[in-house]
């Protein structure tokens, strides 16, 4: 075996090992640009009030309920929430009109915001009302982030009295959409 071919082979090998150092320009600083913007949807609230539970004399009456709503206590979520949307859907099968108020309360039970929906009375045809999306950004979002409780106030407008034999129900379904920015 000649030393010629040996040097040829070793120079080929050597150059292969030299190629070791070749690499495209990589820029690891790009990690600093890392930013993801996931969008999550979740149930917000629902209820289903049966007419026969609303014992009522025919005048204007108020039914309140307050629920804990503590998701904003979670710091990771709170700090990264850039926008929120609430969607509401109400179905009324009771022949009375309602006003539905949703109150966002802080931990001192102070009202931060009130969202109101007018619900017409049932006229015999199915009526599912989808309300315009409530959008929370900037100052309104800041108020939302202080929310620790949600109050629901159902105001029943005057009309035919209800009793334990009354039929129909008032249903609320709602969802929240959270736009997060994580960087």
């Amino acid at each position: 075996m000649g030393s010629n071919s040996l040097s040829k082979i070793s120079s080929i090998l050597f150059s292969v090992f030299l190629l070791f150092s070749c690499s495209s320009d990589l820029n690891f600083d790009q990690v600093n640009d890392f930013k993801i913007e996931p969008v999550f949807v979740a149930n917000l609230a629902y209820f289903n009030i049966q007419a026969n539970r609303l014992i009522d004399d025919g005048g204007t009456n108020v039914y309140p309920d307050v629920r804990d709503f503590d998701v904003f206590k979670e710091k990771f979520f709170n700090e990264r929430l850039k926008k929120a949307e609430f969607d509401f859907e109400v179905e009324n099968n009771i022949n009375r009109a309602f006003v539905l108020n949703m109150l966002l309360l802080n931990d001192q039970n102070e009202v931060l915001q009130t969202i109101s929906f007018t619900v017409p009375s049932y006229k015999g045809t199915p009526n599912v009302i989808k309300y315009p999306t409530e959008v929370f950004e900037n100052a309104r979002l800041d108020l939302l982030k202080q929310t620790q409780k949600i109050g629901f106030v159902v105001v029943i407008a005057s009309g035919p009295p209800l009793n334990s034999q009354s039929e129909g129900n008032l249903k609320l379904r709602s969802s929240a959409t959270a736009y997060l920015v994580i960087e």
Partner: protein, 464 residues
């Protein structure tokens, strides 16, 4: 968050497949007996240059490369992350293996005519194996809004990692001109282990008619992470040097285990050789600083549900979640199985030669073959399904003390993995260098896997 991601990428970059197709049956390198204790290796005695006798690292990612993420091409980094996630599947894996030989040596036992050998050594090893958690990456990147009706599979989470030291003693014997067998006993000392391979569950958001709420939202979780040697570092009181402490545990205070290697070489004909080996058939009993975290349970999210009945039913999302899917910590010992490797090869030699460059004073003619070619197969146990590779190789004896080997491997990570290796001996000094995936070395950053191994030994043969 960013730290975690960086760590994740760091692992990706240092991932190698464990197949050592270049080293296998490259018998002019004493370390080839680490992948086949029955390799036809002979010496009077040898020892490895401390810490430099065997350095190897291996990275493999079956779906993406460093270039895909970090190329300086002006494309938005987040878009690149998105592209990588989108083109990955939950069957894609990221594998790393690194080994560093601390010391090694061997000697022939019996007289000059004996062909029995003892070898021994200590090496440190790091293993990492992970499947790409595609569903969870999608959920984190995009949220659930555009995936109504989809179950994000928590079973996609599957990983294991281990740092350990291995002390081994082996024996091999060339029974006759046709047959060599060998075996090795190994004591493992595991400094740190994390195993999370038996996960299941899902995160689901769906719209189901007939249900009162807008969405059905369910998290069904059966997650388990077992660790050993790691929990002390997660405590607030810990004020040490993590790397130093893990190294210390790895060599002096690890969880112990035991394993064996075995292998044979058989010459069917003078120039037709068959070999087979099993490596790391063993386990580690994880006993030191053990901690198992579990998150098991089912949680349904309904939002706020007023009933206007004046009942005070406190609804606390986080408390309810913690109650439904509690974080439990257990302190049970557990056993991990080492990734077991199987190798086999068939080799055909040709180009008979005689060492005419040297005076043969004994009058005994040591003919040998200048060329060898053949096929090697490799399999390794892994979570879910084993990894396989098949390799065609060509080895040439360039001159008496210089051997060259080229391989072409098909495996999980690449179908054009060409490897080149060179082993030479100058006097007693044996130097070798093996590089894998050389076609990708023209731009290493685009390689989906890469491996190299190099080392220096001192090998002494009988004087002729």
């Amino acid at each position: 968050m960013r730290k975690a991601l960086l760590l994740c990428l760091f692992f990706h970059l240092f991932c190698f497949a464990q197949n050592r197709e270049l080293l296998y049956n490259f018998t002019s390198i004493p370390q080839s007996s680490l992948v086949n204790p029955g390799a036809d290796v002979s010496y009077k005695y040898y020892f490895g240059f401390p810490v430099l006798s065997g350095i190897s690292a291996n990275v493999g990612s079956s779906s993406f490369s460093a270039y895909d993420l970090f190329s300086d091409d002006g494309v938005d980094f987040n878009q690149k992350v998105r592209d990588v996630v989108n083109k990955s599947s939950s069957r894609d894996k990221v594998v790393t293996n690194q080994q560093l030989e601390i010391f090694s040596g061997g000697f022939r036992i019996g007289g000059r005519e004996s062909r029995s050998y003892i070898s021994f050594g200590l090496y440190q090893e790091f293993d990492f194996f992970m499947f790409v958690p595609k569903d969870l990456a999608l959920l984190a990147l995009n949220g659930n809004r555009d995936y109504i009706g989809k179950s994000f599979n928590l079973g996609d989470l599957s990983m294991k990692a281990e740092v350990l030291s291995v002390f081994h003693v082996g024996f091999h014997k060339k029974l006759n001109d046709k047959f060599v067998y060998g075996g090795r006993a190994k004591i493992y000392s595991s400094g740190a282990n994390a195993t999370s391979t038996k996960n299941s569950g899902y995160i689901y958001t769906g719209e189901e008619p007939g249900t009162p709420n807008l969405y059905s939202q369910v998290i069904s979780s059966n997650l388990e992470l077992k660790t050993s040697g790691l929990s002390r570092f997660t405590k607030d009181e810990y004020e040490g040097n993590v790397v130093r402490d893990i190294a210390n545990n790895t060599f002096f205070n690890g969880s112990l285990g035991f394993g064996i290697d075995a292998g044979i070489t058989y010459y069917i004909k003078d120039n037709l050789q068959f070999t087979a080996s099993v490596i790391d058939l063993g386990f580690v009993r994880q006993t030191k600083d053990i901690e198992t975290l579990t998150y098991k349970g089912i949680y349904r999210y309904n939002g706020a549900n007023p009933d206007f009945m004046g009942t005070d039913d406190p609804e606390n999302v986080f408390d309810e979640f913690d109650k439904a899917i509690p974080r439990d910590t257990l302190y049970n010992k557990y056993t991990t199985w080492r990734p077991t490797k199987l190798y086999s090869s068939i080799e055909y030699s040709f180009g008979e030669a005689r060492p005419d460059d040297e005076c043969n004073c004994h009058g005994k003619v040591n003919k040998y073959y200048k060329n060898a070619t053949g096929i090697q197969v490799f399999a390794m146990s892994a979570p879910r399904t084993p990894l396989f590779a098949i390799t065609a190789f060509y080895r040439r004896n360039i001159f008496k003390k210089l051997d060259f080997k080229a391989t072409y491997a098909l495996d999980t990570f690449s179908n054009k993995n060409v490897g080149l290796g060179l082993a030479g001996t100058i006097g007693p000094v044996n130097i070798y260098a093996l590089v894998n995936n050389v076609l990708e070395y023209k731009d290493i950053s685009k390689a989906s896997s890469a491996a190299f191994q190099l080392g220096i030994n001192f090998v002494f043969q009988d004087k002729e």
